[in-house]
C-alpha cells in the first residue's frame, strides 16, 4: 500500500509483491521509489500496526505492508 503522495510517486495505490524479507521486497522495486519509501519521515505499518523500523521484517503470504508519509496539516 502506498499512501498519500507516495501513491502518485509509485503510480499506483497498491502492488502485489512476493513474500520474503523486507530488503528483498524493496530491492525488487524501482530504485527511485525505494529511496522515497525509505525516507526518514515515512513510517511503515504491517497489517495495520506501525513498525519501529523495518529490521527483520519478513512478509508472508497475505501480509499487507503500508508506507505512510507524514499526515497533512489543518
Amino acid at each position: 500500500m502506498f499512501l498519500g503522495r507516495l501513491e502518485d510517486i509509485a503510480g499506483m495505490g497498491e502492488l502485489a509483491v512476493n513474500p520474503g524479507p523486507l530488503e528483498h521486497v524493496l530491492a525488487a522495486l524501482d530504485p527511485a521509489l525505494a529511496v522515497e519509501l525509505l525516507g526518514e519521515r515515512v513510517r511503515m505499518a504491517l497489517n495495520g500496526a506501525l513498525l519501529g523500523d523495518g529490521g527483520g521484517v519478513v512478509l508472508t503470504e497475505g501480509d499487507e505492508l503500508a508506507f505512510l508519509p507524514p499526515v497533512s496539516g489543518g
Binding site: 500500500m1 498519500g4 503522495r5 501513491e7 495495520g48 508519509p69 507524514p70 499526515v71 497533512s72 496539516g73
Partner: protein
C-alpha cells in the same frame, strides 16, 4: 481501501465515531447529538469545513485519503482516550474522506458534559489530535492543479499544549 463508508464504533458507550465517504449535515448531526444528551448542561462543537474563498489561489476541491486498516481504529482510540480524560456525557467524532468542495463539512466534533470546562477541553483536545495524529492525507485542487498538503508547524505546537 474497501472500508464501509459508515461504521459505528463498537465497545465505547460514551463515544461515537464515524468515518464517512459521503457528505453529511452538521446541523442535523449536532441536533441529534444534543437531543440524545438532555442530561448535559453544555455541548461544545467544532465544525471544520472546506473554505470558500475567492482569488487565484482559491481551493476548488479537496481530497482526503485514508488507510482503512488504521484510520478508523486511530479515531476510535482517540475518542476512547478523550472520553477517559474528561468527564463527558457524550462524544461525537465524524470525519469525511474522499472528494469535497467549498462549503462541505470535513469534520464535526461534539462533546456533551455536565460542566462547561470539560466539554471545551475535550473538543479542543480531540481536534488537536485528530488533525495531527490521525491517518489522513490531503490534497487540494486550485487553478494550478492538485497539490499534496504537508504537515504544518502549528500542529506540533497544538500538541505541545496537552
Amino acid at each position: 481501501m474497501n472500508s464501509p463508508s459508515c461504521r459505528q464504533s463498537a465497545g465505547a458507550e460514551v463515544a461515537e465515531v464515524r468515518l464517512l465517504g459521503e457528505s453529511f449535515s452538521a446541523a442535523e448531526e449536532l441536533a441529534a447529538f444534543t437531543a440524545a444528551h438532555p442530561e448535559a448542561g453544555g455541548i461544545v462543537s467544532f465544525l471544520g469545513q472546506v473554505r470558500a474563498e475567492g482569488g487565484p489561489g482559491a481551493v476548488e476541491a479537496l481530497e482526503l485519503k485514508h488507510y482503512a486498516a488504521m484510520t478508523l481504529p486511530g479515531m476510535e482510540a482517540l475518542a476512547a482516550g478523550t472520553s477517559a480524560r474528561w468527564s463527558l456525557d457524550g462524544l461525537l467524532i465524524i470525519h469525511r474522506h474522499g472528494l469535497m468542495y467549498p462549503g462541505d463539512p470535513i469534520v464535526l466534533v461534539a462533546a456533551a458534559a455536565r460542566h462547561r470546562r470539560d466539554a471545551f477541553a475535550a473538543a479542543d483536545f480531540a481536534m488537536d489530535h485528530l488533525k495531527s495524529q490521525s491517518w489522513f492525507w490531503k490534497r487540494e485542487k486550485t487553478a494550478a492543479g492538485w497539490r499534496w498538503i504537508e504537515p504544518r508547524a502549528d500542529d506540533h505546537r497544538d500538541l505541545a499544549r496537552w
